[in-house]
Structure formats: structure tokens, C-alpha cells
């Protein structure tokens, strides 16, 4: 019995020292804490992190280039009268799908960075979108939609 517990202890020790564990990125995590009172809804692409950062009581969509740890401009995306709810970034960082609320309407949008254009994506049949996910190419979108008290997931192919 003593032998078993000794072996188990040794095993745990070896596992603990093997270094095979997720390593925090302090330089990035410090940056992500700076200048926002809270941050939520992370979406990682290859070298991009999109998230919702709160400043001065207002949440904004931010896209950070992880190579140089700098936010990139997103002209036309963050409207003063809109509250973002959920987001997802494509693999190359070129497209961001956003669910946002404005004037009591919650709608799904696609933002294309190269055109700085925010395009509404209609839901058919109509419903209230919530959580959204883009694939790597940014041409397939999955969105959680509330219809008559039930949550469905719609798949939408985008041009």
C-alpha cells in the first residue's frame, strides 16, 4: 500500500514537473487588462483576438493583432447607439460576425474589414439571434436563434 501511494506521489510529481501544461502569456494578458474595466466574449483566429472591451461603461468590439499586440482600427463597426452581444472572427481576421442590439432590435451583421462595411444578415424565418460562430474562411456562419421560445442553430452560407 505504501509502495502504491509512493508510486502515485512520484507520478503526480513527474506530471507536475513535465512542463506539459498551458502557459499563460503575461505580456498579452497585461495588455488585455489595460484600459478596459472588463473584457468578454473572446474569439481567437490564427493571429487575431476579437473580444468585447468595456470602457467608460460602454462595450466595443476590439480586434488585436497578436503578432504585435496592437488593436487594429475597425471603422464603421462600433456604433454609439448599438450594444454588441456576441462576435466571431474568421481565420484570417478579415471578417467579423456580430450580433448587436439597437433600438430594441437584435440583429446579425457581417463586418468586412477590407471594405469597412457592416452588412445586415437577415434570418429566415425571422427570430432573435444570440451566439454566433464563423468558420475559418468566414463564408460559413452558425448562429443561435430564438423562435417561439425555442433555441435553434441556423447555418448560413455567405458570399
Amino acid at each position: 500500500m505504501k509502495m502504491v501511494s509512493l508510486s502515485l506521489g512520484l507520478l503526480i510529481l513527474i506530471a507536475g514537473c513535465s512542463g506539459e501544461r498551458p502557459r499563460p502569456r503575461p505580456e498579452l494578458n497585461g495588455l488585455l487588462r489595460q484600459s478596459v474595466s472588463s473584457r468578454r466574449d473572446p474569439s481567437l483566429a490564427q493571429v487575431w483576438l476579437a473580444s468585447l472591451g468595456k470602457r467608460g461603461g460602454r462595450e466595443r468590439i476590439e480586434l488585436i493583432d497578436l503578432r504585435n499586440r496592437r488593436p487594429v482600427p475597425l471603422p464603421g463597426l462600433n456604433r454609439a447607439d448599438a450594444q454588441p452581444i456576441s462576435l466571431s472572427v474568421s481565420g484570417d481576421g478579415a471578417r467579423i460576425a456580430v450580433v448587436q442590439q439597437r433600438d430594441d432590435r437584435t440583429e446579425l451583421f457581417l463586418y468586412r474589414r477590407n471594405a469597412a462595411a457592416l452588412q445586415r444578415i437577415p434570418l429566415d424565418p425571422p427570430g432573435v439571434p444570440r451566439s454566433v460562430s464563423l468558420d475559418g474562411s468566414g463564408r460559413l456562419l452558425a448562429v443561435e436563434v430564438s423562435r417561439n421560445g425555442r433555441w435553434d442553430v441556423d447555418l448560413i452560407r455567405l458570399p
Binding site: 498551458p22 488585455l32 452558425a142 433555441w151 442553430v153
Partner: protein
């Protein structure tokens, strides 16, 4: 537009996550009152078993790597929420330990499975923290992508 087909027992589907290659869709379904992750093949609608995640519901916030080899999500272990990554190739489950009593809320796995973003609660506030997984997981890269092998030197 397509609708993700529900399983026979599914009453609702939430928290969708697509794999990088667009072939896999993870959703959280209400199965007999338990929030359980389901992995669907987008092309033929078939559901893949995830035996290593059978326990520890409720599940939430799934996230998939490029080919769907890895699935990251939030599970419940006793009274604590925990982020885990399941490797569908070898059946291993990698727990993500968070120091300091912080609770994970949401997770996002980079398509190559080398980086993880976690939304946590820290003293009542939401934070996003990034973890390097390169010591833990193999790269899940798009099919046909060139490996970083050094170029052959031309013969003299």
C-alpha cells in the same frame, strides 16, 4: 440558409461553434434536462460520440480546432467550473488549471490549437486571458498546408 438538424432528443440547441474547415459544428443541446455538447458533421448531419465528455455536465461554450480534432469547452467538476480540451484523436482530456480561484466562463480555441483564450471572472469582473498550448497539443493544421520544413539546398 440551412438549419442544423436536431437530434431526436434535442429540444433546443445553443452556443454553436464551427470548426475552422467548416465541416464540424458543436452545439449545446438539452438532453434529458442536461446541457450536453453534441458534435455534428455539417455535410451529412451525423452526430459524433464524445465519450470523454459524457460526464461533468452542464457543458457550455464549445470551441473547435481547424479539423475538429480538439474541442474545448467549460464543464462542471463537483462545485467548480473547469475548462477542458478533449482530443478526439487519442481520447485524452486536458484540464486547464486556473490559479487563484477564478472561474472560467467562456473559451475560444485558436484553429491550430496552439493558443487558448479564456474569459474568467476575477474579483467580480470579466477578464480575457491567453494561454500558450504549444507544449500540450499537437498543431491541427488545414489539410495540404505546407510544413515548415527547411528548403532543400541545391546540389553544388
Amino acid at each position: 440558409m440551412e438549419r442544423a438538424s436536431g437530434g431526436l432528443l434535442a429540444t433546443s440547441q445553443q452556443d454553436p461553434a464551427l470548426s475552422g474547415n467548416g465541416k464540424w459544428l458543436a452545439v449545446i443541446s438539452d438532453l434529458r434536462g442536461r446541457q450536453t455538447v453534441q458534435l455534428r458533421n455539417v455535410i451529412n448531419g451525423s452526430i459524433q460520440a464524445l465519450p470523454q465528455l459524457k460526464r461533468h455536465q452542464p457543458h457550455s461554450s464549445p470551441s473547435l480546432s481547424w479539423n475538429g480534432r480538439y474541442i474545448a469547452l467549460i464543464t462542471q467538476h463537483g462545485r467548480r467550473r473547469m475548462a477542458v480540451i478533449a482530443d478526439r484523436l487519442n481520447g485524452r482530456l486536458h484540464p486547464i488549471q486556473l490559479p487563484g480561484g477564478r472561474d472560467p466562463i467562456q473559451v475560444s480555441l485558436a484553429p491550430d490549437a496552439q493558443t487558448l483564450a479564456l474569459q474568467v471572472t476575477d474579483q467580480g469582473l470579466w477578464r480575457v486571458e491567453i494561454f500558450d498550448l504549444s507544449d500540450v497539443l499537437e498543431i491541427d493544421r488545414p489539410a495540404g498546408q505546407a510544413l515548415s520544413t527547411p528548403p532543400l539546398t541545391p546540389a553544388p
